[in-house]
């Protein structure tokens, strides 16, 4: 009996160690490249390695060359957010309240850009609006692309929260007390949809900041976003500059991802 117990203990131990090693290995496989890239961004000469010394000069250079792309990325991201909020939240409300086949069809159409390649959406936009020169050349053109691409994420996450709090009945409750639709929207619908609106907002901003496919097709030399700048620097700058650029992107995007995780967790707790 003690022998069998001992054997079982040893076996459990081995299994645990094996699993731990495997996890660490996978993590390393994913994290090491990121780490290397970040390290490259602050190394004087990547080919001579870390002993060549650490420096912030590449980051400074990135800032000098590409600060414009970072600014325009944020401008575009927040403009996209504003539009998806203004259109997406009322749309989610309307789709949920109306229900029925038409609502489901509209929902599907809104969701389509998730599945359609960004390049195809960009091409469609170019075919349709390419002739409007001033619009085509402005950053608003990229905003339009981003709105098309991110809208489903806003609408879906808001609708999911609306469904869990049974917004339809709450809406009827508000109506029975005499509140007109716009009053119900501000007093009842929006406050009770906050978790979904927050989650959707973070998703939209994150996706817009990192969007490449669509943007690459839609941008002009004067309307570059951060990911386009990244591609540009990979193609034409020394490796250290490109890596420093990655580092900058990381620093910007990680807080957003953490916030997203945090909100998701809070929603789980409630």
């Amino acid at each position: 009996m003690p022998w069998r117990q001992l054997a079982k203990m040893v076996r459990d131990r081995l299994i645990f160690t094996g699993q731990l090693l495997f996890t660490l290995l996978v993590a390393a496989f994913l994290i090491v490249p990121a780490g290397l890239s970040i390290a490259a961004g602050v190394t004087v000469n990547y080919f001579r390695g870390i002993q060549s010394g650490l420096t912030l000069q590449w980051i400074a250079q990135v800032w000098e060359l590409y600060a414009g792309t970072i600014v325009s990325s944020f401008v575009i991201a927040f403009a996209t957010l504003a539009i998806t909020l203004l259109a997406g939240v009322p749309a989610a409300y309307a789709l949920l309240i109306r229900g029925g086949r038409v609502a489901r069809m509209i929902e599907e159409i809104i969701t389509l850009p998730v599945a359609v390649p960004g390049l195809a959406i960009a091409l469609a936009l170019l075919l349709t609006y390419g002739g409007f020169g001033a619009f085509r050349r402005s950053w608003l053109f990229i905003v339009v692309g981003h709105v098309v691409f991110t809208m489903p994420f806003m609408v879906r996450s808001v609708m999911a929260v609306f469904a869990t709090v049974d917004i339809k009945t709450l809406d009827e409750g508000g109506a029975s007390l005499g509140a007109p639709a716009w009053r119900r929207f501000w007093d009842i619908i929006v406050p009770n949809g906050i978790p979904g609106i927050l989650a959707g907002s973070l998703m939209v901003v994150t996706l817009s900041l990192g969007e490449f496919n669509l943007t690459w097709m839609l941008h002009t030399p004067l309307t570059k976003t951060l990911p386009i700048g990244l591609a540009d620097s990979y193609a034409s700058m020394r490796l250290e500059v490109a890596s420093a650029y990655t580092l900058v992107f990381f620093v910007m995007i990680i807080p957003l991802l953490i916030a997203m995780q945090w909100i998701a967790e809070r929603r789980g707790v409630r």
Binding site: L170, E172, G173, G178
Partner: protein, 354 residues
């Protein structure tokens, strides 16, 4: 504590039917009048159309073409719910989770532009009336089911609605609480004296709360009447079986007597028919000496229910006969007993009915 005055509007439902997209008819066109201050209960099993009827009155659903809803003679059919001045209690209560108890109760007043001080006064009145004083600052998720139910009720009557609509307001609660709140609710509705339409599938609730009951089945009105009429004089077999316990007997009639396997029963108003369907309530059957009785049977089971005994009897009728007797009577399974029923307690049902 002041009891709000006003007795509400008279409601008239005029040939209101409802067919959903896709062609399912959930409500046959029905006409119904509810007097000012009356409590009317819509009673029936799930899917009978009672909630649809309530939602049409509320303005949450539109009746099919031709149907009209009148409040005090004014056509409200095209008026949306927010301008009908109704108070509604939902089955799930629909309390706003983003507001405190007080804000929930005061929301309708706020919408109507009642100033803050007036609002606070009315909220104070209502928490007293519904027995939830002290909970004003609580959030909704900090309340028990019974407390939520009271908040929902307070919120609905806060605006002094013309008609109060309640959609299964006690169904979400457990049995003991339901029974207690039913009593409270009854008292509250009586003291408010407001026109009330109450939807439930629970016949005990309907009996206790309703001035009149509308029994519904499969989208149709099966019977309208006072609780007594519904209980003692059911219009058809469905009502008889849905309300309380009932023995339904189908038997040939001879010389004004119902011919049963275990003997005969005199019928009060013998119709000119060869066969009859009758209903007998279990508590109207008395146990007598088997030798003297015109109807006899054998006791199959005896269940002691505390305040009374429930007995089933075989061989008296084609089916098992259910009898309720005082808890003092001594009978055992297998006993041969006689049965007597007052002729007026035997209710003739229309022959072709379901």
């Amino acid at each position: 504590m002041t009891v709000p005055a006003g007795h509400g509007v008279a409601v008239r439902i005029e040939s209101c039917g409802k067919t959903f997209a896709g062609g399912t008819r959930v409500l046959e066109p029905a006409t119904l009048e509810i007097a000012s201050g009356e409590t009317l209960v819509l009673l029936g099993p799930s899917g009978c159309g009672k909630t649809t009827m309530l939602r049409i009155i509320a303005g949450l659903e539109q009746p099919d073409a031709g149907g009209r809803i009148m409040f005090d003679g004014n056509d409200m059919t095209r008026v949306p719910i927010e301008r009908r001045n109704v108070g509604m209690v939902f089955q799930s209560y629909a309390l706003f989770p983003n507001m405190s108890v007080a804000d929930n109760i005061g929301y309708g007043l706020k919408i109507r532009g009642v100033p803050r001080a007036k609002r606070a006064e009315r909220i104070g009145e209502l928490v007293q009336l519904t027995g939830i004083d002290g909970l004003e600052d609580r959030r909704i998720d900090q309340l028990s089911g019974g407390q939520r139910q009271r908040v929902a009720l307070a919120r609905a009557v806060a605006v002094r609605p013309g008609v109060l609509l309640l959609d299964e307001p006690l169904t979400a609660l457990d049995a003991a609480l339901r029974e207690r709140l039913r009593g409270d609710l009854n008292q509250l509705l009586r003291s408010l004296g407001i026109t009330t339409i109450y939807v439930t599938h629970d016949q005990a609730e309907a009996m206790e709360l309703g001035d009149r009951i509308v029994v519904m089945s499969k989208g149709r009105i099966a019977q309208i009447g006072s609780p007594r009429e519904i209980y003692f004089e059911p219009a058809n077999r469905f009502v008889a079986e849905f309300i309380g316990a009932a023995n339904i007997l189908e038997a040939p009639v001879e010389n004004g007597q119902l011919m049963l396997p275990g003997g005969r029963l005199p019928v009060d108003k013998p119709a000119n028919q060869a066969r009859a369907t009758v209903m007998i309530r279990p508590e109207t059957i008395d146990i007598v000496n088997a030798d003297a009785a015109s109807l006899a049977g054998t006791v199959e089971t005896v269940r002691f229910a505390g305040d009374r005994m429930r007995i089933t009897i075989r061989e008296a009728a084609v089916n098992m006969l259910a009898v309720e007797v005082p808890n003092t009577i001594a009978v055992e399974a297998g006993d041969r007993i006689g049965l007597s029923v007052a002729p007026e307690a035997i209710r003739l049902l229309p022959a072709e009915c379901q």
